[in-house]
């Protein structure tokens, strides 16, 4: 169960794993996530599904080694198994034809953005992808994005590839040049906060897919709670996607740091 059938390094710290999970591959939709646990004493962490192959019965996960638990997953090799894998969890992305959709991804957030890009494109939308990374080597999935969208704009912090600038500069350039009906953003919380602030200024409806701390992932613990429009919501069952303009990103950033002082190893 949960055997790793392929592994690819996107960069030094970012790994793409293809994992045997036929039931999840069959039932997952764009926007869903899984909970992964490696080892008997492992931690349960959420990962958004980056793709699936129903004939092979596999799902794709893209992981950035940031803490002890994500490092453990990245260290797994082909033939190894993920101890526990459960899903698909959360609400699927609401896909419909709205017109022009800008999909803004940063870091490993680009990976779960791919199935959403595919789905919006398939639904007949004009899809413009803004990919952001610190530097050229960290730009991922550009080819796949090009295959499923009308345009891809690459932004790098250091200007080593594409246009020099932040993801927000890329999104703003599109908004300034044409009418945008919807923006979808996935990436680090701080990035989504700024994308949301920008699109709010231009009154472009925006959806953010949030990745918070979770334990069970089924609504049982409430570790993932955030404030949306003044109300407490659970990312695991009410999300992971929310109206970005209503999300209290500062609170979310604060809660993401809950275990910083005591994180193990």
């Amino acid at each position: 169960m949960n055997k790793i059938v392929s592994k690819e390094h996107f960069s030094a710290n970012v790994v793409k794993l293809e994992v045997e999970a036929p039931l999840i591959a069959r039932s997952r939709k764009a926007g869903h996530f899984v909970i992964v646990k490696v080892g008997e004493k492992g931690e349960r962490i959420p990962l958004t599904i980056a793709g699936a192959d129903t004939t092979k019965g596999t799902i794709t996960l893209v992981i950035q080694a940031v803490g002890g638990s994500s490092k453990k997953i990245c260290e797994l090799n082909v033939g190894d198994s993920i101890t526990d894998l459960v899903g698909p969890l959360g609400q699927a992305t609401h896909i419909e034809k709205v017109g022009t959709v800008v999909c803004a991804g940063g870091g490993v957030g680009v990976a779960p953005l791919l199935p959403i890009v595919e789905a919006f494109h398939k639904a007949g939308n004009r899809v413009i992808v803004v990919l952001a990374a610190r530097t050229k080597e960290l730009v991922i999935l550009e080819e796949q994005m090009r295959a499923h969208s009308d345009e891809v704009i690459v932004m790098t912090d250091d200007g080593s590839y594409g246009t020099k600038g932040l993801v927000t500069n890329g999104v703003e350039s599109v908004i300034n040049r044409e009418k945008v009906d919807l923006c979808v953003t996935i990436g680090p919380a701080i990035m989504m906060k700024f994308v949301s602030a920008l699109t709010k200024k231009y009154e472009v409806p925006t959806v953010a897919s949030l990745n918070t701390i979770m334990v069970d992932g089924t609504g049982m613990c409430g570790a993932c709670r955030i404030t949306v429009g003044g109300k407490t919501k659970f990312v695991c069952v009410d999300g992971p996607e929310f109206d970005a303009h209503q999300v209290d990103f500062d609170e979310m950033l604060m809660r993401l740091g809950a275990y910083k002082d005591i994180e193990k190893k």
């Binding site: 459960v86 899903g87 604060m254 809660r255 809950a258």
Partner: protein, 489 residues
Amino acid sequence: MTTEELIAARRAEPWREALRKSKKNKERTDIVRVEMNELDAEYRSHTRLEEVNLGLTKEQAMLEAQRCLDCPNPTCMQGCPVSINIPTFIKNIERGEFLEAAKVLKETSALPAVCGRVCPQEKQCESKCMHLKMGKPAVAIGYLERFAADYERESGNISVPEVAEKNGMKIAVVGSGPAGLSFAGDMAKRGYDVTVFEALHEIGGVLKYGIPEFRLPNKIVDVEIEGLRKLGVKFLTNCIVGKTISYDDLHADGFKGIFAASGAGLPNFMNIPGENLVGVMSSNEYLTRVNLMDAANPESDTPVLQGKKVAVIGGGNTAMDSVRTARRLGAERAMIVYRRSEEEMPARLEEVKHAKEEGVEFLTLHNPIEYLGDERGRVRQMRLQKMELGEPDASGRRRPVPIEGTVETIDVDEVIVSVGVSPNPLIPRAFQGLEVSKKGTIVVNEGNMRSALPDVYAGGDIVRGGATVILAMGDGRKAAAAMDEALRK
């Protein structure tokens, strides 16, 4: 034979008549009720895993068993949601046939070692004991149940109840908590091919993630689960019915009946300012980290906050479990904050007593109105409104009302909110056609636990909203009997 006839027939067995006549009732009622052997309170408040209650010795159990009068009409049995034949198992203990006593328990209970530890017997079987009518304390049925189950386990001679011939019919159980396990055991005994689907990576539901080691060791739960495996029950972890597989998938796979026992999924919060500060969490989160994920063990990758000044909001058993856990994880000040008085507390008396012995402070008639944090968003203080009791409310308990102008501020570095749970919406959302109450519970026919979908039965907290292990187990038994009858037609 009717149940009454069956009870009478077993009571009339020669050994039992002889045992009954061996002592006068007066001699039996004169025996003082046994007291549970416990770990020292100071010692146990610093030891994370050791069980507080140590159980009875053989001698203690046999003496306590003598107190039972072996009534012709055993009212205690009416107080048991799973109808354990209480006098039969107790009299077996009295005559020293401990393994026989354990067999009697297993006739109707899938989890005797669990029930002997966590059932509120004082509100169930023991509340109907004849001794109470004579002004004496009830027979310690719960302690005796635990004794028999523990004796069997430790003896290594674990009996497997009789299983009817396999009938080939596949039954699905959603959730592996007490309701699901009880149902699974009963159906397996009746010859069904039972598969239990569990969302988490461990079997046992609340018995694993909720109830702490010091009250119910995981290894005890595992032995009972092993017993169910021996009956032929199959378990599938990491599988969420309604997500990983659907209602339609279950039908396509040939399942003829489904028992939904997915539990009380969503923790309630109070919606007061500061509740999302770092360090404020639900008891579900706190207990899951410590119990299921073993987070206080340095070997575990899962972190848990180990506060020095911990407040637990609420007065139920889960609140007691949380506050006693906090004490064991190093809290110098571990406080229960409860808006009513101690008298209205829903927790078992034993839990309250244990908590007090372990140095837990009780701030009754206090209600949190706000949490204050530092510049990094970590909780540092709580503001408590003092309360007094007014007129009785809908629950029959006197309603707590704020005393104007009396707000206290207390330093805390961790707050655990334990003010109840709401049903998990996963199943109600995934099974089209279920009738769901305003509270989110699945509506069933109380007589047979059948839902609006004819092949779906439900029980435990997904129906009750938040109750006890034994009531959940009773639902499981009732549903099994009803589903069996319906499938036989």
